[in-house]
Every structure is written in C-alpha cells, then in structure tokens.
C-alpha cells in the first residue's frame, strides 16, 4: 500500500497485523478493533485500530487515549459513513491522533476526507498518485464550516488548507 499523509507520500511506520498473527509488543501495530482485549495493559509501543464503517464514535471514545491511529474502513467508496465517523472523532471527542481512510476510496474524495479530519489515506500499490494530489489543488474555498478550516471569507464561504 502507498500512503498519503496530508496529501504527501509518506512511509508507513505501522505494521498491519493479520487477524490470526500474534500482536508484536515492540513496534507500532495496527490491529482489528475486535482484538483490543488481547493487548496487555502495560503495552508501550504505539497501537492502532481498524474500525468498520458501522462503528459509532461513542464506541471508540473509551479507547481514544490508548490508540495513536484509527483506520476507518471504506468497504465501497459510495459508503459515506466514514466521513461522519471521522468528523465526530475530531470535533466531538477532540481525537488528535492519526486518522486514516483505508479500503475503497477515490481520488475525488481526497479533499472531502481531509476536510472531515482525516490525516491520511491508503492508496493501492501501483496506483497513480497524480489524481490524488490534483484533487487537493482543485478547490480553494468551500461553503461549510469544517474542523480544518482557517478563516471565513464572507457569509458562508471559507478558505481552507
């Protein structure tokens, strides 16, 4: 997988732990949410969780101080639940860690993801990154008040980025 952080290619420091594999205690490990109970209380290495699209933000609230990465799965790009989940984590629970979109997302959704508070997106190996970066340079203003926005230009319109 390729990784774009805030729109820029980045190395992935996280190890995606397969479902049946043991959870290593000395590297940053990304595990399925359902395996959280297996993680020892004294763990010091960074921990991340993959959550499904049906996850509600309040389910994640109790573990926000334990995880440094939440990877929200998009089973299909048309399934927009992840946008609401991401925004709620940032806005309501002030989650400050990495928020990553994984699964099927399109370059055309890149800007929406960042504006909803996602910090990174996984892109398939070999996929052309040009449309992903182009999508971020397309618009400079928008009409909504999002978590990441800087200043109100006039009325409802805001500059972002």
């Amino acid at each position: 997988m390729q990784l774009l952080e805030q729109g820029r290619p980045a190395a992935d420091r996280w190890l995606r732990v397969a479902d049946a594999a043991p959870i290593p205690d000395d590297v940053a490990a990304l595990i399925g949410l359902e395996r959280l109970a297996e993680v020892p209380a004294g763990r010091t290495a960074p921990l991340g969780v993959v959550v499904g699209p049906a996850t509600l933000p309040e389910e994640l609230a109790p573990l926000l101080n334990r995880v440094a990465l939440i990877a929200v799965a998009f089973p299909k790009f048309r399934d927009g639940r992840g946008f609401t989940l991401g925004r709620a984590l940032r806005e309501r629970f002030r989650y400050g860690g990495e928020l990553r979109a994984v699964g099927h997302v399109l370059p055309d959704q890149h800007l929406f993801l960042l504006r909803c508070g996602f910090s990174a997106v996984e892109v398939a190996d070999g996929a052309d990154l040009a449309p992903w970066t182009a999508a971020l340079g397309r618009f400079h203003t928008a009409y909504q008040a999002m978590v990441t926005d800087k200043a109100t230009l006039r009325q409802c319109m805001r500059r972002f980025g």
């Binding site: 927009g80 946008f83 609401t84 909803c116 449309p131 400079h140 928008a142 006039r154």
Partner: protein, 565 residues
C-alpha cells in the same frame, strides 16, 4: 418605454448574484468534472466509479443518450440565464429542454464527450448541474411565488440560498445512503410540498419580526409514500444549519445502505420510530459545537440583500385597464382567472406561463420560446423567471396594467394556454419515452387525456383538479399526491396504470387512495373521464373535485369505474 423594450432591464428583481469566489468555485468544479470525464474515457475510472461522480454533476445515462439535469436553484432564473439554457438547447441538444418537478431543466440528448463543454457553457451564466442527482443533498425547492405572494410572511429564497451554499459539495454529506431533498416555504399556503420531502421547513415570523422554522422530517414518495412528521415547532433562525447538520449526521450514520429501496430517511424514521429518531437528532444537536454552525444574522442580512424587492411603482390595487381588457376579451379574462396569482404589492400580479399546451409534452420548452420568454421577462417582469414544481414558468412581478400586453405577446408563441390548475395542467414524468427506469409511458397518457378534454370550457366547468402521471414507482410526477394520480406499471410486458384519488401536497397533505385494479393503456382516458363524470353528477354547489372526494370517499367513483367494466 423605448429604453426597456427587448433589452436588459435597467432594474432587475433581486436574485442571488455570484461574486468572484462563487465564480472561481464553479470554474474549479467544471475543471474537476472535465478531469473525471477524461479519466473515464481513458479507462482510469470504471463506470461503477464514474457513475456517482457524473450523477453529482447531473449527468444520467438514459435510454437513448445522456441526460443533463441542470440546476435552477429554488426555481429562480435571470433572463440571461434563461437565454443560456437556449444556447445549451441549441448547441448540445435538439433545440429544446424539459422543465421538471424539481424546478430544474433537463436536456435529453447530450453526448458524453460534450458534457464538460455543456457544463462550462452553463457556468458562463453562473449556472451548473451540481447535485441535481446522486446520493447527496439535492436542489432545494420552494414556492414559485416567493417574494411576491400575498400570503407570504418570510421570503424562503433567502434560506434556500443559504442551504444551497451549505449543501454544495458538503464534505460529510456527499455519499449519503440515498438522495436527500429539502423544501422550504414561507407562506400561509404550502406550495412547496414540505410534508413530502426528506426535510421540510416552514418559515414563520413572530410579532417581533424574528424568524423561526417548523421542521418536518421523513416525508417522501417513491414506492413507500410517507408523510413527514414535525420534529421541531420553532427552530430559531440562528440554529438552522446546526439542526440540519444533526439530522443529516444521524441519517448518514444509521440510514440503510443494503437495499436501495430502504435507504431514504423516511424508512429510518419508520423503523426506529418518530420518538426515537427525534431523541437521536436532539442528542446529536445538543453535543455539536453550536458556535461553529451558528447562522449569524449578518449572513442572513447579506443574502437577504440579494433578494431585495425590485423598485415597484406606486399603483392602485384595482386596475381599471386590466378590468377593461377583461371585459372586452373573454379569452383573456379566462386566462387571468386561471394563470395569475395575487401579489403582495398593490397593482402587481404574478403571471403563469403554462408549459402544458393541449397535446404537448408537459414541461417542454423550445430554445426559441426560452429566448422569447427571456425578452418578455425583461420587458414585463424585472428580468426574472421562475420554474414551478408543476412544470410551468412564472413571471413573478407583472404590472396589472401591462398584463394584457404580456398575454398578447405570449399567444403567438404558443405560451398562453389558460389551463393552470385545470385538468390539462398535468404533471407527467418523461416515462418510457426517455427514462431508463420507467415501466410505462407517461407523456402520451397525458396527451390523450388533455386531448379528450381539449375544450377549455369543459375544463372550466370541471374546475381545479390535479392529475399526476408517473411512469414508474419512483413517482417523479408525484402521483401519490395528485387529486387523480396515475402510476404506470409493467404487467407481463404490458403497460398498465394504477389510479389513486384524493392525494394532496399542500397544508392538508395526504397520500391518495388506490381505486382498485389497474387499467390498460387504452382504458386510462376513459377511466379519468368516468371519474370526472361521477364528480360532476354528485358534486354539491361550490365543491371542487377534491372537496367532493373528501366528502364521499372512494365508493361512488369505484362503483362507476368498475360497474361498467
């Protein structure tokens, strides 16, 4: 008057005027769409991936070609924008367009390779096709007499424009479970069908002048018609965006995504129950940062300024010239009786241009007619045109003493049919003649009925009755709420039509009752005639069709329809 004749008016009715930011935004959107088409043509986007993207730019793949549905935000157009539609009709279509029940316009013969050019042409006149389709917040609709109607307390265009901006490319709500429609009214009589939308807003003004909204949620038509319920009685103006955000968040998180037919918010409301749904929305609303979403009074005032009333002349309410013209010309008098609506300013009136000539296609308009209407709007109506949700056009602000001249100008254009609200003012969807979803034809059924009752005197005798004809269960022609609703269904490869009676889309909203077994294509016109003959036989003095139906119910109509069969 020479200075005004057939040129841009010196003073125009207030409509929302784009500034440099809006224009840049639109140019960026056109560039984005052009890139998407290029990626599709190059194979970088699959059709499955391209489809939702093109739909959010109004581009449908229909039976014969692509259809481009252009937005007419809350139905309001400048005369120059109307001329631009004529340009698009000539350059990219076959010289005409089709006005829809969503107050939009559709062009039915678009080539994919030219779609981006068509959209760029729209953008030259501050027009677009953003979110006229797709699982996102669609064009906000409102009262076609907004800013003009005698019974209006709040101009709904102001809030419709605010909601247009808020919903445009909303990063969180562009991939909803299903489409999402918002309607808003600010008058005593609901002409926006707010109880039949995902969200309906009724603006009210209290004694101090403060605006609040009744909020209705969970209404809709389609295969499961449901009336909305009132979730808030008095939502303060400043809280509008916050409250809508809360509703949309609950819907986006919990709405059904497995089955396309169970994905609208009405199904979520039905499944969890109104009380629980209200609780979920109120919880979400209580915890979102209210300040961020506050609709500031300065923002409302700034948008309000765009809709400032045109400089009306000081005129008497009763106009002698109009009265004399009516006395001298019975046909004109009949047209005035049907095709006008009372105005809040003395000496003015709103005029309806019927797009339902007998035997024509409801809502169709040629490029030449569009240009002519634009000229008449400049000459008589402060350069502004409205699209109504019954597929007609409205000149909102016409001087009563110029109405006769306007009518005389409309006649040679084939635009002076005096049938507004009469039975030939039929709402019909494109049906099987154009639409990939349809099961049956709708337009020819409308034409057959209109031709059967071609005599306008007979229509006047029958009085106001709304006939709505949908070519499939998606109910684009709102058949559930027609006084007489007609739904085309497919029965073993043959077109059949189910008839409902007694529907209403206004304050007393109601889903119509199914009369019984459906009728074959060549029986529908007879059935409608039987229904109307029964009404004429049993109506009491002063009763319209809908009044009689409410008094008697289905029985006498059912008897007449099936006794003869």
């Amino acid at each position: 008057m020479d200075g005004l004749d057939r040129t841009a008016p010196q003073v125009t009715a207030g409509i929302y005027k784009y500034d440099a930011y809006d224009r840049q935004f639109l140019r960026d959107r056109v560039a984005e769409f052009r890139g998407q088409v290029d990626r599709r043509l190059a194979g970088a986007l699959s059709e499955d991936e391209f489809k939702p993207l093109r739909l959010m730019n109004g581009l449908y793949l229909q039976l014969h070609a692509y259809m481009l549905r252009c937005a007419v935000p809350y139905g309001v157009l400048s005369s120059d924008q109307m001329r631009q539609f004529a340009v698009v009709a000539r350059r990219f279509d076959r010289g005409y367009g089709h006005f829809t029940t969503r107050q939009n316009i559709q062009f039915n013969w678009i080539k994919l390779e030219e779609a981006a050019d068509a959209i760029a042409t729209l953008a030259d006149a501050d027009l677009h096709a953003i979110q006229t389709s797709g699982n996102c917040i669609r064009n906000v609709t409102t009262d076609e007499y907004a800013g003009a109607a005698f019974d209006e307390s709040v101009d709904p265009r102001v809030y419709a424009e605010i909601l247009r901006q808020w919903s445009t490319l909303h990063p969180e709500f562009s991939f909803l479970p299903r489409k999402f429609k918002i309607a808003i009214t600010g008058a005593a009589r609901d002409r926006a069908a707010i109880q039949l939308h995902d969200i309906g807003l009724a603006a009210r003004r209290d004694a101090s002048g403060a605006v609040s909204f009744e909020v209705w949620v969970g209404g809709g038509m389609g295969r499961t018609p449901i009336l909305a319920y009132r979730i808030r009685e008095r939502l303060p103006e400043a809280e509008t965006i916050a409250y809508l955000e809360a509703i949309l968040r609950v819907y986006n998180a919990l709405g059904g995504r497995e089955n396309i037919h169970k994905a609208r918010i009405k199904i979520l409301v039905r499944d969890v129950g109104q009380a629980r749904f209200t609780e979920l929305v109120e919880q979400e609303y209580a915890r979102l940062p209210r300040e961020r979403y506050r609709l500031e009074p300065e923002v409302v005032a700034a948008i309000q300024a765009h809709f400032a009333p045109p400089p009306f002349a000081v005129l008497p309410q009763a106009d002698a010239a109009l009265a004399a013209a009516c006395d001298g010309d019975a046909e004109f008098a009949a047209w005035v009786g049907r095709n006008t609506h009372p105005h809040k300013v003395a000496g003015y009136i709103s005029a309806v241009i019927s797009l339902k000539p007998i035997g024509g296609i409801p809502g169709d308009c040629s490029a030449a007619q569009m240009d002519a209407i634009a000229d008449l709007a400049d000459r008589y109506a402060f350069g502004e045109v409205r699209v109504s949700h019954v597929q007609n056009l409205v000149l909102a602000h016409v001087r009563k003493d110029e109405l006769y001249a306007l009518w005389q100008a409309l006649r040679p254009l084939g635009l002076a049919t005096g049938n507004v609200g009469l039975l030939s003012d039929i709402i019909a969807c494109p049906g099987l003649d154009y639409c990939a979803l349809a099961n049956a034809r709708a337009i020819p059924v409308a034409q057959l009925i209109a031709e059967r009752f071609a005599d306008l005197h007979r229509q006047h005798d029958i009085g106001s009755v709304y006939i709505n004809i949908s070519g499939c269960i998606n109910a684009c022609a709102h058949h559930h709420v027609g006084h007489i609703g007609i739904l085309g269904v497919d029965r073993k490869g043959e077109e059949y039509y189910q008839i409902t009676l007694g529907g209403s889309a206004t304050n007393d909203a109601r889903i119509g009752d199914i009369v019984g077994p459906s009728f074959a294509y060549d029986q529908v016109t007879d059935a409608v005639e039987t229904i109307l003959r029964s009404y004429l036989a049993i109506r009491q003095a002063g009763e319209l069709f809908i009044d009689t139906y409410r008094r008697t119910g289905l029985a006498p109509f059912k008897e007449a329809l099936y006794a003869t069969a």
